[in-house]
């Protein structure tokens, strides 16, 4: 399927416009959907009223402040389920679930407390029926109270509340990436050497938005490529998505994980969106810490008003994880600092949305160092070091317009200094070698034995981002619309010194006399990648036959430019219609569905790959006398750049049913989805050939003390077949599955609530390219072999069924919460599907790189006997993990002054999980336990007093 044709894309856009027109027509003449009212009172546990508390309806702009009696009244609230958020400085925020009937009035009583553990309405699990702000697609919403209780050092730990995400112990031990709605197969290997694994492709396509600005890993070049044999030692993640270790959990206020079809506001994704809001504005000063046998973490946050128009918040988080305490000094250390500033110009009281002008500034600084020093007694010479030093400055200017409309401009510049060093002793047999960096034939030398290979990768990844967006509310044709339209500009590049090593001591010893050694490469000569976007999104509420139909329709156009700026030609364009529907026959039941397309930009390293070197041996004369030796090699250089490389395009669709009576009542969600990413970027093996000169030698008598000489002109030559690894849109990731979430209301007698998440996901990961097999290397060097077989690509299927039970015991009167989490892996299977029998070949390649397909019916013919070989390098055996489960425990207890003490035990019973057979290994991480403490400092040091 090709997405390269802009006219074709626009024809699909026409179809969408027709759909939009249909909606408008459908809306015409409809009654304005009925709304309702929510009234209530906010008090302390002793009944004392809390004035000045801000009450908002999540997902809307509805907001009100309590009066001196703690009362509030919200008008024109759309019928249906809502979450009320009640906030007051000095108190833990409260979230109350309500279901509002059309034309009705709901009265709520909200109790605030200094400590969220003392509040009856806290929810320490994800909201099963939550919505991201402004989004109708399926989402998981994780609020601060759940984050507080979650054992998390980074965003990764918080995302464990998302259905289908396995539990992991807290810490910074390894690269953390999140592949939404796919099975990160038991086999991390890619289908083709150098290409991404299914998990990496899915993580690459998962968009993370931090404080309204996307994060990007597109310009990360911290990899060694397919030939680099030290790549596995690198402690940083150069492929896949953003390393979640860079986002400390302690600074996060709220996380929205949009697993379904996102609105048109979001782009550069294929799997889903994770929207992260950090803590900002007025935050009581607090400090916290965590210690366990591997990780120690401390954090502090302080927010205050500066005058009447400004708010300033600063936070600091320092964490360190020892990978194997007592055994090695390997450690990962993170320092994250954040400054958030808000300036309101104009009317200074009331919420920021009501200010004529609001300017938000965010300055983020994060350093992540992974240091694995040498252990001379165990692995002499082996050591690695990685450091990401990121700095991001973002500005968001919001201008309030008439009628509740607004315009927002966002600008962001981020810079990440990425440094990797890895070294290891390498051992090679004697071989001819050249260090040429240009094409041509030259006298080489012989190398052999052990050497210390040292590799440095210095990358300076830059990301410029801008967004201009208008948010309009209108009542058109009898229907309330919320219309969002805007545009985005992105520019990404890497200005680092690049991949550096001593050519004679390369990070690679494998050499077959043709496939050459990699050479150093500068990153700062790689051109920037520019993309631009236009989008429009409309959310409207209809009443159909007495039922409420909520609709979100959007259209997004992503353009990948061929030049380095946004005014250059368009290299590839993808039009992305997106539709979400939600029909509510009754307020407590919702039928939901969504369909949409998304697009993911190729990484800078895929658009501008490293040149590939071939070092062909012409003369190999290794005389016993070193003075008589002669090596002659010809270096060929091939550029694998694919000028046709474009976006990966995903098609997302889902349908399901939700039932719920509020966040504390019974809630059930059942959903089926199918996400299919086509054109994921992998490597396509492109056959070709080189001409190898064969020299005859003169003066080759031994004992002369001189090397022989070449007889010229040449009289002989032969061809050597090669494969060029060219980045191409060859990968398909097709995931389908079911997600079910059940939240059972509290059994008051036992103070217990149960939350169950069950997911079943089946993923197919397919390479559309051809497979030339591991034996191609032999074919290259076997001059007498005229041809070699090739096969169709491999299809890797994976399946996982995961059920997570969370049993929550909560005593608000004691400020005590215990959560027992049982993760049950009911099924996990991985299998490669590929023809492996002798007649499974699809054709053959000649020594000049010509591809000749062989019809299936003729493959058994005697003239193809030499091709009828079993496929090498492919194992089709089904790999499965036996069903198993493990238990984790989290305990939180309130402390005086709003503090909290927590204890956690990950994998409490230390269950292993296992893969049977001689290669048996642990599946579940080891038992790990630790303590957490958080203490607000405002009351302790009198910095901030509660102001009821």
């Amino acid at each position: 399927m090709s997405f390269g044709s802009v006219p074709q894309v626009f024809s699909r856009g026409g179809l969408l416009l027709a759909c939009l027109a249909l909606f408008w027509t459908t809306a015409r003449g409809q009654e304005r959907p009925e709304t309702g009212r929510i009234a209530g009172r906010v008090t302390l546990a002793d009944g004392m009223p809390v004035p000045g508390a801000i009450v908002t309806v999540e997902g809307t702009d509805l907001r009100v402040t309590t009066d001196t009696a703690g009362r509030f009244h919200l008008m024109r609230v759309p019928a249906g389920p809502h979450v009320l958020l009640v906030r007051r400085l000095g108190y833990a925020p409260a979230r109350i679930g309500v279901t509002l009937p059309a034309g009705g009035l709901v009265t709520v009583k909200v109790t605030l407390a200094r400590n969220w553990l003392n509040m009856p309405q806290i929810v320490v699990t994800a909201d099963p029926t939550g919505r991201a702000r402004g989004e109708l697609g399926t989402a998981t919403v994780i609020n601060r109270d759940a984050i507080e209780h979650q054992t998390a050092t980074s965003l990764q730990g918080i995302l464990e509340l998302v259905p289908g995400v396995p539990l992991q112990p807290p810490g910074l031990a390894t690269v953390q990436q999140i592949p939404l709605r796919s099975v990160p197969t038991s086999t991390p290997a890619s289908l083709v050497a150098g290409g991404p694994s299914a998990a990496e492709l899915a993580a690459f396509g998962t968009l993370i938005v931090l404080d309204g600005v996307p994060l990007s890993n597109n310009a990360n070049l911290q990899t060694t490529g397919p030939r680099g044999e030290l790549g596995s030692f690198l402690p940083t993640g150069g492929t896949g998505g953003v390393d979640l270790r860079l986002i400390p959990a302690s600074t996060i206020e709220r996380v929205e994980v949009i697993r379904g079809v996102p609105s048109a506001r979001y782009g550069d994704l294929s799997q889903g969106v994770i929207v992260v809001d950090t803590r900002a504005a007025s935050v009581e000063p607090a400090t916290g810490g965590r210690v366990d046998p591997r990780t120690i973490e401390g954090n502090a946050i302080y927010g205050s008003a500066v005058g009447v128009a400004q708010r300033l918040t600063t936070s600091l988080d320092v964490a360190r994880t020892r990978l194997q305490p007592g055994l090695t000094a390997d450690a990962a250390t993170r320092v994250a600092a954040r400054v958030a500033h808000r300036l309101r110009i104009g009317r200074s009281d009331g919420p920021v949305e009501s200010a004529p002008l609001a300017l938000d500034t965010r300055l983020d600084l994060v350093s992540l160092v992974a240091d694995n020093p040498e252990r001379p007694a165990v692995f002499p010479g082996r050591a690695s070091f990685g450091r990401d030093l990121g700095l991001r400055l973002s500005e968001r200017l919001r201008v309030a317009l008439r009628g509740g409309n607004s315009a927002t401009a966002t600008l962001s510049a981020s810079y990440t200094q990425q440094r990797s060093r890895v070294q290891a002793l390498r051992l090679r047999g004697a071989l001819p070698f050249t260090d040429r960096v240009t094409e041509g034939t030259s006298v080489g030398r012989f190398v052999e034995g052990q050497y210390l290979s040292q590799l440095r990768i210095e990358g300076d990844a830059w990301f410029l981002y801008g967004r201009l967006e208008g948010d309009f509310h209108a009542h058109v044709l009898g229907v309330d619309h919320r219309f969002v339209t805007g545009g985005e500009l992105r520019r990404e590049w890497n200005a680092g010194a690049g991949l550096m090593f001593d050519i004679e001591r390369p990070p690679q010893v494998t050499f077959n006399g043709v496939q050459g050694f990699d050479r150093p490469r500068r990153f700062d000569v790689i051109p920037p990648v520019a993309t631009s976007t236009l989008y429009a999104d409309d959310r409207l509420l209809l009443s159909v036959l007495g039922m409420t139909l909520e609709t979100q329709v959007g259209l997004r156009l992503d353009l990948l430019h061929s030049g380095t700026h946004w005014f250059s030609d368009v290299r590839h364009a993808v039009l992305q219609p997106r539709v979400n529907l939600q029909l509510s026959p009754w307020p407590w039941i919702r039928l939901r569905g969504g369909f949409g397309r998304t697009a993911k930009t190729p990484a800078v390293g895929s658009l501008y790959p490293a040149r590939q070197y071939y070092d062909v041996v012409n003369v190999n004369w290794f005389a016993n006398d070193p003075a008589e030796r002669l090596a002659v090699l010809t270096t060929f250089i091939r550029d694998p750049t694919n000028f046709g490389l474009g976006f990966a395009v995903a098609r997302k669709q889902e349908a399901g049913l939700e039932m719920g009576t509020g966040s504390r009542g019974l809630a059930l969600s059942v959903l089926a989805f199918n996400d299919r990413t086509s054109g994921g970027v992998g490597f396509r093996s492109v056959p070709g050939f080189l001409v190898r000169d064969l020299y005859d030698l003169a003066d080759s008598t031994s004992g002369t003390g001189k090397p022989p000489s070449l007889i010229e002109p040449l009289t002989r030559a032969d061809t050597v077949p090669i494969l060029l690894g060219r980045p191409d849109n060859v990968l398909t990731l097709d995931s389908r599955g079911l997600e079910a979430t059940l939240a059972i209301p509290e059994i008051r007698l036992l103070h217990i609530r149960l939350h169950v998440q069950a997911t079943w996901v089946q993923t197919e990961f397919r390479d559309e390219g051809l497979d030339f097999g591991a034996a191609f290397s032999d074919f290259q060097i076997a001059g007498s072999q005229p041809r070699a077989p090739f096969w169709e690509g491999i299809n890797r299927t994976s399946e996982r069924a995961l059920i997570t039970y969370r049993l929550v015991y909560h005593r608000p009167d004691l400020g005590f919460v215990v959560t027992a989490v049982v993760e049950h892996i009911a099924k996990e299977v991985t299998e490669d599907i590929a023809g492996v029998d002798p007649l499974s070949f699809a054709g053959y390649v000649t020594r000049t790189g010509d591809l000749v397909p062989v019809p299936r019916a003729e493959r058994g013919n005697p003239e193809f006997a030499d091709l009828q070989v079993a496929r090498s390098g492919v194992t089709t055996a089904r790999q499965s993990t036996p069903a198993d489960w493990f238990l984790s425990l989290q305990v939180s207890k309130s402390l005086p002054f709003g503090g909290r003490l927590g204890f956690y035990a990950f994998n409490l019973l230390d269950r292993q999980g296992r893969i049977t057979g001689p290669l048996s290994a642990r599946v579940f991480p080891r038992l790990q336990f630790g303590l957490e403490v958080m203490m607000p400092l405002g009351a302790v040091f009198g910095l901030s007093e509660p102001r009821p």
């Binding site: 002499p380 010479g381 082996r382 002793l425 390498r426 051992l427 047999g429 004697a430 071989l431 001819p432 052999e448 034995g449 052990q450 494998t510 050499f511 077959n512 006399g513 043709v514 041996v617 190999n620 004369w621 290794f622 005389a623 016993n624 080759s700 031994s702 097999g773 591991a774 034996a775 290397s777 032999d778 290259q780 060097i781 005593r811 004691l814 005590f816 215990v818 002798p838 070989v869 079993a870 090498s872 089709t876 055996a877 089904r878 425990l889 305990v891 207890k893 402390l895 005086p896 503090g899 003490l901 204890f903 035990a905 409490l908 230390d910 057979g917 001689p918 038992l927 336990f929 203490m935």
Partner: protein, 458 residues
């Protein structure tokens, strides 16, 4: 243990947890978590006989070790009846033969005995389990003097086998056959792939061939091969891999040796003569490997080397050509020994167009069978007992390692991590030349030696 101090209010609050259940839960969780590393180990029994200390032999129900008595009876092959009569040996049995019994997969587990006049011997107090048995009786000079001219090349009798020993007693009958000196024999192998740093160096391997006859042998076209290597039951442990029940047809084939690796020596028939009592080395790389590690041999004087497109070519050493190779060597020409032992052989020149070929299920290349009549000499070996105990037991050996017509009992000498060579035993000097022992029982004929001596037979 609630102390006063700057954080006393925090500690006090914790100590004053009012809800007993909460405290119990927290304490029990802490205790459970803290106890997880404590493991009590039972003492092992004192080693007293071969295999002691192997937990597999412990009878957990009785609490004692099961021990057995093994009786070895020898039986002369019927074809050697006339020879035995000439030597005056009792009917059908082999007296005064050295018997070696080794428990499979257990280090330091060998015991020896000598057969009595009835050709039998007994070992008591053995742990139950699987045992290898080899029997060897070399002829004395006086006995050799009794032989007819047709049997003048007989140097002794040997045999071997493997089987399970169970309590209270088990009896093995070992058929022994006459061993003849042969012609071109494998005199030494260097399969070492020592770890240098954290990587293996496998370029210094070689096979040494020796002329054990009184006449010149021409090496031209001779084949050096690796025999069938399906001697472990991967079907038991890895789904989709071959079980012994399938591979026995190739492994135990009496008509020839299936060869996944085959190297042909160069020459046109008379180019490379090898005189009586002389040795020729076929090297992976005919270079001085001591440059890399001084413990490795200098092979610059090898007779032949195996070259690929990516390794070096010594112009003064003729190149042997690899004609069958199931394994990828990434351009390195090399003598492939595997990592767990196997069967290696030398054979006369064969027209490969006239022999059977087959392709086992998942193999890339077709594999020829070298006819039995062309096989000159065979070396069969599995891993050393120590290595077998640590590396091999997860994938057990098949019952059949090789057919008796090629080798009667494999040696247990293979350890590629050790810088050591495997050498054929010598019988002594004969007409001023070293006579090598060849009883067609690798267990009896080969020893491991730290003395690496390419090209030299002492």
């Amino acid at each position: 243990m609630c102390r006063a101090g700057r954080l006393s209010h925090v500690i006090d609050a914790t100590c004053r947890l009012r809800h007993k259940a909460s405290v119990m839960l927290l304490v029990s969780a802490l205790l459970t978590a803290c106890e997880h590393e404590i493991t009590l180990l039972k003492p092992l029994p004192t080693a007293a006989s071969p295999g002691d200390g192997d937990s597999a032999a412990v009878d957990s129900t009785a609490g004692t070790l099961q021990r057995a008595t093994l009786t070895i009876r020898t039986h002369l092959a019927p074809g050697d009846a006339a020879l035995a009569a000439t030597l005056g040996l009792p009917d059908g049995v082999l007296p005064e033969a050295a018997v070696t019994v080794s428990r499979v997969g257990t280090a330091a587990s060998t015991v020896q005995g000598t057969t009595d006049s009835a050709g039998a011997t007994e070992f008591s107090g053995l742990l139950v389990g699987r045992y290898d048995v080899s029997v060897l009786r070399l002829l004395s000079a006086a006995e050799r003097a009794l032989l007819d001219s047709s049997d003048a090349d007989v140097t002794g009798f040997a045999g071997g086998g493997s089987g399970s020993v169970s309590a209270p007693s088990t009896e093995f009958t070992i058929t022994t056959s006459a061993g003849r000196r042969g012609s071109l024999v494998i005199s030494e192998l260097f399969p070492a792939m020592p770890r240098i740093g954290d990587q293996g160096y496998n370029f210094a391997t070689y096979i040494e061939l020796y002329n054990n006859t009184d006449t010149t042998i021409y090496l031209d076209g001779k084949l050096i091969g690796m025999g069938p290597f399906w001697f472990r039951d991967f079907g038991q442990t890895q789904k989709g891999f071959f079980p012994c029940s399938l591979t026995v047809q190739w492994q135990d084939d009496p008509d020839g040796l299936w060869a996944p690796m085959l190297i042909r020596l160069p020459g046109n028939g008379t180019s490379y003569p090898l005189g009586p009592g002389l040795a020729a080395v076929v090297a992976s790389d005919a270079i001085d490997h001591s440059v890399v590690d001084r413990r490795l041999p200098n092979l610059t004087t090898a007779a032949f080397e195996s070259v690929g497109s990516a390794d070096v070519d010594n112009p003064s050493v003729p190149n042997a050509r690899t004609i069958v190779l199931e394994f990828q060597t990434l351009g390195r020409g090399m003598m492939f020994f595997g990592v767990g032992g196997g069967i290696h052989f030398v054979a006369d020149a064969v027209d490969l167009n006239t022999v059977p070929w087959m392709r086992p299920g998942s193999y890339n290349n077709r594999i020829p069978r070298i006819p039995r009549a062309k096989i000159l000499d065979v070396f069969a070996s599995s891993m050393t007992p120590a290595l077998e105990a640590t590396e091999g037991m997860q994938t057990p050996l098949c019952d059949r390692f090789i057919n008796e017509v090629f080798d009667r009992q494999r040696a247990v000498l293979f350890d590629p991590g050790e810088i050591a060579s495997i050498q054929r035993r010598t019988i002594g000097l004969f007409d001023g030349r070293v006579l090598l022992q060849r009883t067609k029982s690798s267990a009896a004929d080969f020893i491991s030696s730290r003395l690496i001596s390419p090209g030299v037979v002492r």
